[in-house]
Amino acid sequence: MNAPRPFAGRMMKLLLACLMFALALPATAADEAMRERGEYLTRIGNCSGCHTAPGGEPFAGGLHLNSDYGTFVTPNITPDGATGIGNWSADDFYRALHEGVRADGSPMYPACPYPSYTHVARDDIDAIHAYLRSVAPVEQAQPAHDLDFPYRYRSLLGLWQALYFEPGEQADDNARGADWNRGRYLVEGLGHCDACHRARGAFGAMETADDAPGAMIHGWYAPPLADPAQAGLQGLSIADAADFLQSGKRDHAAMLGPMADVVFESLQYLRDDDARAMAAYLTALPEQQVDSPLRLIRMSEDGRQTAMAEGRAIYADRCAGCHGDDGRGDAGAPALAGNRAVTMDFPLNAANMIREGGFAAATADNPRPHGMPPFYKLSERELAAVLSFIRGSWGNDAAPVTPTNLRR
């Protein structure tokens, strides 16, 4: 027969349990706060933009990213142990984003923008890790990347990193304000804007020149942020630029193509102070005049006149109803006169917009966007003609476009 337990022993256990419970409570609240911060940062970093396939489970990967080096298939970053990153410790995760090294020690392809993420602070990366550990695990293995020779040899990446990658956070520039520094941290770090808006040179390394051109993403051109005649926001007030980032829309312009996805998935969730910080940094970028990476074929004056005449007729028939005879747009349709997407040298984005149409992103400030019909039945010649017309009318002074330049 068991002897009754001493009363003191039971009390001790009870006390211990109470103590553990009391300790656990604040820890849980702190964990939850960290997880929430991580969720915000994950949105601002737009991790799901690449790590979620169209129609796929969130963060389970499987998006196909085409590049000059072949097709990358984005990995599963849900906490599944076998096919995701469930077995990665916080240290492993930090090392991946900070140094571009996977938990198994192998180097990562810079298709994942760790050259930007390396600027992100440890506690922010830990928060992102805490959030990703809380999402539903999905068991989904991805097919291998389909890369050309020699890029398919992952071991060569060690050499690439030695040549082109320098891990490390950026020290604050004390000559600048807190907003500018926070803005740089977001734009050049977690926001990884340069991953699309800056061309890559030899072996996929980011061009470092101030006047580097933009780059192609999903068939669209991400124009350079340094050129106010392209994607640069230098001409705007900080308040207007912040509003543009969050809403995806200005009086007579909207962000379209993959950038509308970024607004919808990520930028519309920016806190006001972070939007202002990004705007402070982007509006203060040194202005550059950046050449287009695509050489437009020169047209004879006769050829230009012919294209303008054909374009004028198509415009009057299909476009003027919304965009106006004077190209000034209406309540829903943006102005084409003075529209940077129309006048910048690189013509493919405007061509995509005409061919594919589409809506601006639905955001708090623009909850019911107007949509542009797709004019996919236009031949390449007709498309080039109407582009030449809108690029050369109402004070717009961009070069005419030939059908050859629109072939993809």
């Binding site: 998935e265 966007p369 797709p374």
Partner: protein, 241 residues
């Protein structure tokens, strides 16, 4: 002869009346708010108000379909449960609230229908009529009208009408269910039904449906079906964002 005395009091009345008369003018002078019609010009470019030629067209009529059905489809396109390059692109970054508003707008449009397509030859027509009106018990196929309504104009809130649709569109949808590129909420009964269609069944029922004259009342039935032959996941779902 009575003369109206012009007193300060009269002046007050005149002023009030003038103000009331002017109010609508003031309202009209404000810039016109963009209408829903303008907002969805991108949709109407293909989904014309009169539908399209049923003989050789492809784009389905969406006008007058139950809002719940249209909303479910817009969300299905956003989540790639239905695949069409244009549609997937169009809805990519619209909120559910706005998609519901768009669905409601088109559900409220009761525009004239296009003329019916020519009747298919026998025995295709007879097989089509049989599938649509009687079903095929042996094959486990219920009649179309058992769920889509006696008039085949759909049933509120989520079941679409089948009249006024191009033959090629209906064939493509049944085919998409067969090969797994179109999905509805589980249990996805249309996927089950499509898998039981054999031989030239798809062609027969599509051609017969496209050849049906427009019924006098084209609105979806308001009352739910009494005893539906199957349990379908998308029928009872509340159709709100």
């Amino acid at each position: 002869m009575t003369r109206y005395a012009y007193t300060p009091r009269t002046a007050g009345y005149v002023a009030i009346i003038a103000l009331v008369l002017l109010l609508p003018l003031g309202a009209a002078a404000e810039p016109a708010r963009p209408s829903m019609k303008d907002r969805v010009a991108a949709c109407s470019a293909c989904h014309g108000p009169q539908g399209i030629e049923l003989e050789d067209g492809y784009v389905p009529r969406i006008h007058g379909k139950p809002a719940g059905y249209l909303y479910n489809q817009l969300v299905n396109y956003q989540d790639y449960r239905r695949r069409n390059t244009s549609m997937n692109h169009m809805v990519a970054h619209l909120s559910h609230a706005y998609l519901f508003e768009i669905a409601q707008y088109f559900a409220d449009q009761h525009t004239p229908y296009p003329p019916a397509a020519a009747a298919p030859p026998e025995p295709l027509a007879e097989r089509g009529r049989q599938l649509a009106r009687k079903g095929d018990k042996a094959a486990g196929i219920p009649a179309c009208d058992a769920c889509h309504g006696e008039r085949l104009t759909g049933v509120q809130p989520n079941t679409p009408g089948l009249v006024g649709l191009p033959r090629q569109y209906i064939m493509a949808q049944l085919g998409a269910w067969q090969v797994g590129t179109r999905h509805a909420a589980a249990p996805d009964c249309m996927a089950d039904i499509a898998s039981r269609l054999k031989g030239r069944d798809v062609e027969a029922v599509a051609a017969w449906l496209a050849a049906q004259p427009t019924p006098a009342d084209t609105r979806p039935a308001a009352e739910p079906i009494d005893a539906p032959p199957m349990t379908c996941g998308s029928v009872p779902q509340p159709a709100t964002p």
